[in-house]
Each structure stands twice: as structure tokens, then as C-alpha cells.
Symmetry: C2
Subunit: 226 residues, 2 copies
């Protein structure tokens, strides 16, 4: 796997396009990239947060740790996206984060980040827009969990994985059935049963961990019915 440097990321990602040369230099000084193995924990819900995280390479999940050993996955984060932006103005992480594939995460020192927000209003507007974008995602999750049942929730999960994460009808992520269930808010067994049911009905095709969506419009219908 290619190892990225902070400079490469800052020069290539449009997230940093609004910054001056000096500001970029500052970020480079105050940032570092760490490497995580598949399965490794990146951040722990409740832990002290003093950096802002950005996925540079790989795939991570963010999740809420429930009372009864049950996790609820909130998001699968791909490059190049912020992770747990809420930690900007929050001393502790609201979510846990762990790597699904081998991943590289860039950490920016929090004070520097806050400084940039204050100084650069174009950047702070972007952050606000990103937060609002996330908010819409949370509303979708709340709708899914709150007033849909099995089929609707599962369809939501598949549509999310395909459209938002894989950005393809071919969902070739290293995601387990358990994780699909934890994202959809259903049991692992239900996720498995639904997958094979939809496979059987020709709505999708299974090939090991790879899921190929064949009839997205039917999934959308399932999502709407609830």
C-alpha cells in the first residue's frame, strides 16, 4: 500500500483548497499520518479527543457502543473524508472508530484546526456544510430505525453501501454480515436471511463478500414501503 505524506494530502485534496500557503504549512507542521491494520481501533467512544481525523486511505467505521454489547454502526468512511468532526468542540469522542481495511488516518492537532476555523471563514462555512450534510445522514438513520421494519431497514443499508460508500452497484467492501446488520439495526441472522432472500429473488447477486445490486429500483421501493 502506498504511504501518503501529509503534504501530498494537503496538496491534492480539495478539502484544503481554501487555505493559503502559510496555513497549509501550519497544518503540515501540526499533523501526522498513522497506519492501522484491519480490525484495529482508531478511537474509542468517551475517550479524550485532541485531534481531528481524516481518512486518507482504506476504510473505517464509526459506531455507537450500546449497553448490551450491541454496536450500532453510524457510518463507513472512505478517503478523503473527516471522521467524527464533532470532536472539534467536544472534549470526548461521541463515537468509536475502527479500521475495516488497512487504513491511513491523518491527525490534525485540534487547536490548529480551531484556529483555522476562526481565521478562515470559507473553511468554517465548509465545516458547517459538512456538519449539515452529516445531519441529513443521521435523519435517514433515525427514520430507518424509528419507523421501518426489517426489509425497509435492510434496503436502506444496502442502498447506502452501494450509493454512498462503494459508489457502485458492485459493493466490494470488506464488510461482514454482522457489520451490515449492525449498520441496519437488525440481527446478523436477519441480515444473512435477507441477503439470501434477495439473492434468490434476483434483486442482487452474492459472490462471497461481494454484493452486486441488480435491481436498485426494487430496493428503493422496499425502502419506501418501510
Amino acid at each position: 500500500m502506498q504511504k501518503y505524506s501529509v503534504k501530498e494530502i494537503i496538496d491534492s485534496s480539495k478539502l484544503f483548497g481554501k487555505f493559503t500557503k502559510d496555513e497549509k504549512e501550519l497544518i503540515i507542521q501540526k499533523s501526522t499520518i498513522l497506519h492501522y491494520r484491519k480490525g484495529e481501533s482508531v478511537a474509542k467512544q468517551g475517550a479524550f479527543a485532541n485531534h481531528i481525523m481524516l481518512v486518507v486511505e482504506g476504510l473505517v467505521k464509526t459506531y455507537l457502543e450500546g449497553a448490551n454489547e450491541k454496536n450500532l454502526i453510524i457510518e463507513f468512511v472512505t478517503p478523503t473524508r473527516w471522521v467524527e468532526l464533532a470532536s472539534i468542540y467536544d472534549a470526548n469522542f461521541s463515537l468509536s472508530v475502527s479500521a475495516i481495511k488497512d487504513s491511513q488516518i491523518m491527525f490534525i492537532e485540534k487547536g490548529t484546526f480551531i484556529n483555522l476555523i476562526t481565521k478562515n471563514s470559507a473553511f468554517s462555512s465548509e465545516i458547517i456544510q459538512t456538519l449539515i450534510e452529516s445531519q441529513k445522514h443521521y435523519f435517514q438513520k433515525i427514520t430507518s430505525l424509528g419507523n421501518k421494519q426489517l426489509h425497509g431497514r435492510f434496503a436502506d443499508a444496502l442502498l447506502y453501501l452501494s450509493q454512498e460508500v462503494a459508489q457502485s452497484a458492485v459493493v466490494d467492501l470488506a464488510v461482514t454480515r454482522k457489520e451490515i446488520g449492525e449498520y441496519a439495526g437488525i440481527s446478523t441472522e436477519s441480515a444473512i436471511r435477507l441477503l439470501s432472500e434477495l439473492n434468490h429473488d434476483g434483486i442482487l447477486k452474492l459472490d462471497g463478500k461481494v454484493i452486486i445490486i441488480l435491481k436498485e429500483n426494487l430496493l428503493t421501493k422496499l425502502s419506501q414501503i418501510g
Copy 2:
């Protein structure tokens, strides 16, 4: 009910403390206060949004309209708080809003609001903080809906109503059992049954629509158990 003027609100609420005299003057020119009767709709999910809303007096609810006629209440908003801040950078409302009590809502023209965010970095930081604060609320709702059952969800709802909305052990809002159910993500009948169960067990006391929390620590325990 006292009728508020925009000027009174801007002079008295700390939300506007960071603005200069000129900025305040601008807001006054670009804002208006409207009155809503109990039950009236203030904003409709999906509708075009060109103002930012602030509850000045009364009580409103924000909710997601589900597929099968089921609403899911996201928040009960009291004075003086922003409603549906997401509409800053979103053309359409993500949520519906309606009045639970007779209410007064201040509407600020969106362009002006965006302008203030850009010009006044202290204000934009505050908006970011408010958005992050909401985010934590959404995570609580997701946890509640996603991995708790009846009792846990209901306890979450009561604790929210008492601690966040009423800010008192005496919950004297004009909220119906149906609305409590719609907040907790359970059926109206379940909400009723749980209320009378907890009443019977001495954990709370019912007096018509008024709910008095007697043993908050037990509710907290129920919430944790799930």
C-alpha cells in the same frame, strides 16, 4: 400572551451578544416574528426553506414524517433556541415543525444569516458548536432506537422531557401520550401502558397531562439497561 418584537429578542438573548450594533440593526430589518396557534404547522419537511427559525415563545416539535403515516419526533424546542438550523445550507427543510403550544417564531432571512456567519467568526463558531450539540442529541436518539427496547426507550424519552425540555422533575408540557410515543419510537398504547406501570410502581406520578418524576435514578437505570 406577551407579543415580542424582534428588537426585544435581539437585545435580550445571548444568542445575539456577539454582534455589533450595525449587525443587530441588519438582523432587525431582515427579520419578522409570526404567531402560531397550538397545533398549527410551522414548516413542512421537503418545503423550500428561505428563513432561519428561532423559537421566541411557546413550544414546538420537530419531526420526521415516515412512510406509513408514522411520525418520529426529533426534538421539542423551547425559547430561545434555533429550529432546524440545517436549513442554513439546505434548500429544503429536512424536518417538519409544528406548534405544541401557542408560539411565536422569529424568522431571519437566510441570505442575511449566511452573511453574518461569513463576517462574524465568533458567530460561526457558535453555530458550529450548536450543530455539534444537536449531533450528540441525534446519537442519543439513534442509540435509543437502535439498541434499546420498550422500557429503555421510554425512560430515555422521559429523561429527555424532564431534563432537557421542562428542566424540572415536573413535566408540565402540553404533550400528548401519542407525542411521547412518537418521540420514544413506540406505539401510543405502549406509552400509555408504561406510564401507568411506572405510576403504579411509584417511579412517577400522573396528574392528567402533568408527569412528575419521583425516582429519576431508576429511570436512568432503565435507560442504561436498555
